[in-house]
């Protein structure tokens, strides 16, 4: 398995792949991933220019550990196969498939990726895939999509197109997205992959954005797509365990390891009843804290 499949992806920042000023140094804002867009942000007659710019960015710019995901054009377009070749030739970390509606979509992209990896002498399996779900059909087939490929590290909700398909619109309350979010996170967890939430486009409403991120964090999402570096700090703050959480998780892991050796199954930590069922959750907190760079302990 590609070791990056389960890496930390709290924030995924969209950038127009055609804009050198945007893509030259987004790493200074420290997002976990950037999403270099060849699809909606790029005008039809600029697709080739965008690919050219993307290829050189992937080849020449040291993104200092920030994951480089590329959103290719839809499978219903004439552009996507050439997009895949450029992504793989440039050496991107992952490809995002827009408007995914079935496992066949993922398979089709995977096939092109394999061909390109051979053509450009890239290690087999080095290019990961994620699937954006943007329709009612896609949501209803989420589990099948999640289980369609070993390369697939996650699925992401695209709220704009999805709400149009549902014949509603983005309200800012999240009501219109409830079903899709719930269905997708359950499917992703069932398949053991990650799940990412849609963008929040009102940059003047940072409080609304915060509430939105808090909600999807509680639902279990791994991260959020963002459109502006101003949104990064809030996402990271909410998705990064607090020192209180980390200390408690550390105690839980250590106590369970210790008590297990003594044959004790149930005990209390800071007045809370703890048993083996807490172990995985506590380990996840520690791992997330480590990946976020806030854990300095020895676990």
């Amino acid at each position: 398995m590609n070791p990056n499949k389960k890496r930390l992806r709290r924030s995924m920042m969209f950038l127009n792949a055609q804009k050198p000023g945007l893509i030259k140094d987004p790493y200074i804002y420290k997002p976990d991933s950037i999403m270099l867009d060849l699809e909606d942000a790029v005008a039809t007659n600029q697709k080739d220019a965008a690919r050219f710019s993307l290829y050189h960015a992937l080849q020449e710019i040291d993104y200092r550990g920030v994951e480089r995901v590329v959103r290719i054009n839809g499978l219903d377009s004439e552009y996507w196969k050439e997009d895949v070749r450029v992504c793989v030739a440039g050496g991107c970390d992952a490809i995002r498939i827009p408007k995914t509606e079935s496992p066949l979509d993922v398979k089709a992209v995977e096939e092109e990726v394999i061909k390109a990896e051979k053509e450009f002498n890239r290690p087999e399996g080095s290019t990961l895939i994620m699937a954006a779900i943007e329709s009612a059909r896609g949501v209803m087939r989420a589990l099948d999509i999640c289980e369609s490929s070993e390369r697939l590290f996650g699925i992401a909700l695209s709220g704009g197109d999805y709400t149009k398909d549902l014949q509603t619109h983005i309200t800012g309350t999240g009501i219109e997205l409830m079903g899709a979010r719930q269905n997708m996170i359950i499917a992703a967890r069932a398949a053991g992959i990650q799940c990412f939430d849609t963008v929040y486009t009102n940059l003047d409403d940072m409080e609304g954005f915060r509430r939105d991120v808090e909600g999807i964090h509680l639902m279990g999402f791994d991260g959020k797509s963002i459109i502006n570096p101003r949104q990064i700090d809030i996402v990271h703050e909410i998705f990064t365990p607090t020192q209180k959480d980390i200390i408690f998780a550390e105690k839980v892991v250590k106590e369970i390891d210790e008590k297990k050796a003594l044959g004790i199954g149930v005990f209390t930590v800071d007045g809370k009843m703890i048993d083996i069922a807490f172990y995985d959750g506590a380990k996840r907190t520690i791992n997330l804290a480590k990946a976020s760079g806030v854990y300095k302990g020895d676990l």
Partner: protein, 521 residues
Amino acid sequence: MINAVGRDIPQEILDITGKEVFQGVHYRDGYTYKKDGPNTKCVINSNGSKLVKDIREALVKCEIKDGMTLGFHHHFREGDYIVNMVMEEVHNMGIKDITICASSLGKAHDKIVPYIEDGTITNIQSSGVRGKIGEAISTGKLKGLAIMRSHGGRVRAIESGETRIDIAFIGTPTCDDYGNCRGIGGKSDCGVLSYAMVDGDYADKVVAITDCLVPFPNFPAHISMTKVDYVVEVDAIGDPAKIATGAAKPTTDMRKLMMADYCTQFVVNSPYFKDGFSYQTGVGGASIASTISLAKIMKERNIRMKFGVGGLTKPMCDLLINDQVDCLLDTQDFDLAAVESVKNLKHFRISAGEYADPFNKGAVVNKLDFVILAALEVDVHFNCNVVVGSDGMITGAQGGHPDTAAGAKCTIVIAPLLQGRTPAICTDVTTVTTPGESIDVVITDYGIAINPARQDLIEAMKDVDLPFKTIEELRDIAYSITGEPERVQFADRVVGIIESRDGTVMDVVRQIKPFEFADEK
């Protein structure tokens, strides 16, 4: 001759100007001299007013002739009409060989370029120039030399008699018929007349030009009738929309906000951030954002500012409104909030001389703890360039940059690592305007460099969680992104000098020439 910032100043320039090369910021500390004084035509007869019909009549009465030096101020910023109005009349009268001595010139004065080309104007002395005048100088159209000097340096040059102003034209928002000028009121309100005060004191002839004539006495006068020879009323002295704009909306540009945050964190972790500190900042997005976040921390930690200096904008004036600063010392107002704030009793007008003149008995800048500045380029010696673009064209102004940098205990320069596709942090700046010995800290979006000469600041920051790097590391990151740029190619002719605030020569600016690739030579 090589000066203290390593720049080779041609002997010919030293001979023409009678100047010495720059020898360090404190080279002339303790220098003793006798101040110059104006020729004064007394008004004893009590009949009549000083009002004249128009600018032309004022010029005739002032006995304008070829070769004179005319003084102007820049309080109307990019909304100024005065320079163009006066120079048009001078041109129409067929006068030649004029030296303009302005506190600054900008794009508002593009219209005088034909007068440079036809020899009406042959010398320019200014804090800097932007727009087409800059292009005219850089392409060799000015027959004489452009002298770029700081706000403090201009006062020094005039007070010491190095520059003698024959006629000063003082645009004034309100004036009475006897010449009492005030920077407030009227439709062209600019708040203060700080830069013009030295013109009032030292010019042989002083002409006040206003678009709001008020009954005598227009008191308290910012420039007194005792210094004014003639008063002219015109329809408009400037475009109010460009003189003082509404307060700039705080920036939402994350890059600027990040640099602002680094700056604030540096300030509050430095040893100078304590009750009673003093502070000056500029009008850039990062500077304004930094002032806003600094105000929050001052409140949290119950720390008051003793005085703020400026070039003022709303965030600085808000400190006064919110009782976080004892007083403001004002040389210029950049927005309507600052103009309005002048009415506050703790908001004091000061002259450019009080602000920054190195040749008086101590200026306000000497009492600054912090100054936050910007720069077009900073090099690995911490030298700054704020006047000449990386393309070799004159495109900026020194303003108070070298004055405040020299005076403040902690001088912080904020500059994005890349200005477009050009590295702002480089091996050698195109032109030195502020010497590295005055610069303590450089803050970029990629990290912060402290001048190694400030080991005390390096020590104070050793446990502070900020992205510290050496200036060479910052330069290397910039070059790793853009490549190392080839040096701009200049012709031999010197078109301007960058004067140090003490009157010595910091650098020269040469005529630009089209770039020649190596294989074309």
